[in-house]
Amino acid sequence: MLSPVILVPAVINGLMAGAVYALVALGLTLIYGVLHIINFAHGALLTAAMFAAFFAFTLLSIDPYLAAIVLTPLFFGVGYAMQRFIIGPAAHGEDRSFLLVTLGLAVVIENTLLYFFRADTRTINLPYAFDVIEIGPAFVAVPRVIAFAAVIAVAIGLWTFMRWTDTGKAIRAVAKEKLGAELCGINVAHISAVTFGVGTACVAIAACLLIPSYYVNPTAGEAFVLIAFTIVVLGGMGSIAGALLGGLCVGVVESVSSIFLGQSLGQIGIFIMFIAVLLARPGGLFGARL
């Protein structure tokens, strides 16, 4: 079973799948790094974005990759407004309240989608969805290759943004020292909301990359967000590079373990890894000890 003919394609496919996980995790880790909150609404937002991309294609026949151009700023706005007007004011700056408010938002978003679209599973048919590219010994579906390339580009873009722009510097300042940042004239409420917006925008891009090869139903995002939590923990909370590497790792683990365990148990590998990492090294593999 361990012959390279099976293993190498599994690893390559895992890397491609892992890229999208990494993008979802990137948004999550960014929000965690600055706001120190675990955003339970992340998966629900992903589902919402997937529905948006789905209807953009079925109703307006806009290609999902083009829809990303509209959905990314749209979801940035949604994320910004959510943090600025709902989560921030309602949580009173307490960790546990943040958890509960984002959990509440997740429940609201998911069930609103369920109410309107029922539990039906929907897919779209793109003319090029089943085209494959040969990479070494493996055949990889075109949407996955596009997703991989796009994620790498987004990650580099995000890193540049955080490193060189004023807003990026302000975000890092708030992450390091909230009070100090405020004293330097940074509007913390605004920057927090921007961070949440950027995190949500990542989710919108991920949704557009996913929809060509994945299905959507009101709980589709849940699977990804638990994986994203795992990645964030693996990569160290708040680390961009950690999220990217962690995402790729998890993709490979899932792909390889489903060879041995079968599809439905492949997910267990991820959860067990998650629990093991949290118990053994809560700071993450790349992050500092808490």
């Binding site: 309602a90 949580a91 307490e94 997910q267 949290l278 118990l279």
Partner: protein
Amino acid sequence: MKSYLPIVFVVALLAIVPFVTTSNVVLNFLVTTLLIALAGQGWNLLGGYGGQYSFGHAAFFGTAAYATAILQVQYGINAWVGLVAGVLAGALVGAAIGALCFRSGLRGSYFSLVTLAFAEVLRIISSVAPITGAGVGTLIKLDMRPEAFQFQSRVPFYWIILALVALSLVVVRATENSRFGTYLVAIRENEDAASALGINTFAVKLAAMTISAAITSAAGCFYAQYFLFIDAAIAYGPRISIDALLAPIVGGAGTLFGSLFGALAIKTLGEATKLVTGDAPGLDLVVYGLLLIAVVGFLPRGMAGLMAAFVPRGFRNALPAERDHA
């Protein structure tokens, strides 16, 4: 003993119901409400008093429900024995998860995440393992005898769940009055300080988690007998974890009657939503979610805090113990 009088009063009030009406609709509503109140009371002990917010109480609820069901169906063991075994199994799972989490010092959001992950692992395993009936679920055979913990009428079920809720209230009140309860609250308020004062925080949290799991497990066993069916999504799905934390938070986390009042409030609201909108899937949960955000935003101490605001200062001692939301 005086501190137990409010429990006697509230339980007596609820005990009147079957003498007033035997309507299946009313009793069914109250039974499911008390079921959530019981599951929530388990959460309340650990989350409300101990400040450890579990997002995975379904792990205990589901284990107990499956234990009760499987022992009967696969091994022909009596349902009442199954009830005891289910509570023990749930408590054991609680102790195991607690030992793992607290041994590695997980706190706050990390603890919430790991409990959620454990519930998910159990859900996936139970949806493929043959012993749980995999995707089909487990159906308990109809056997309408009191010895088999099955009744024709809903009234006996009502008495049983009321007794379990009463028992859980007594356990929580006893905890409040004990040294152990004080340690637990100290840990919630400031774990490092509690530890510095010589409290064995690991042992206290572990004990709280075990008792908490046992209480929620009782709800799981009852669920299995009341509905006679259990599958992976019901047992370990996120729905029950959310209900278990929503009830005490709405009612007032860390207060004796928080879970009971909260369960009454959310179930009433859920039924009212169904009346207004018809049986639309998901809409009651939308209301729950909005309620959760609103309570956290505007009523950090839940309904107990709201009541305190309207009670004259001199009478506040009569209210359940208050706390500032940590």
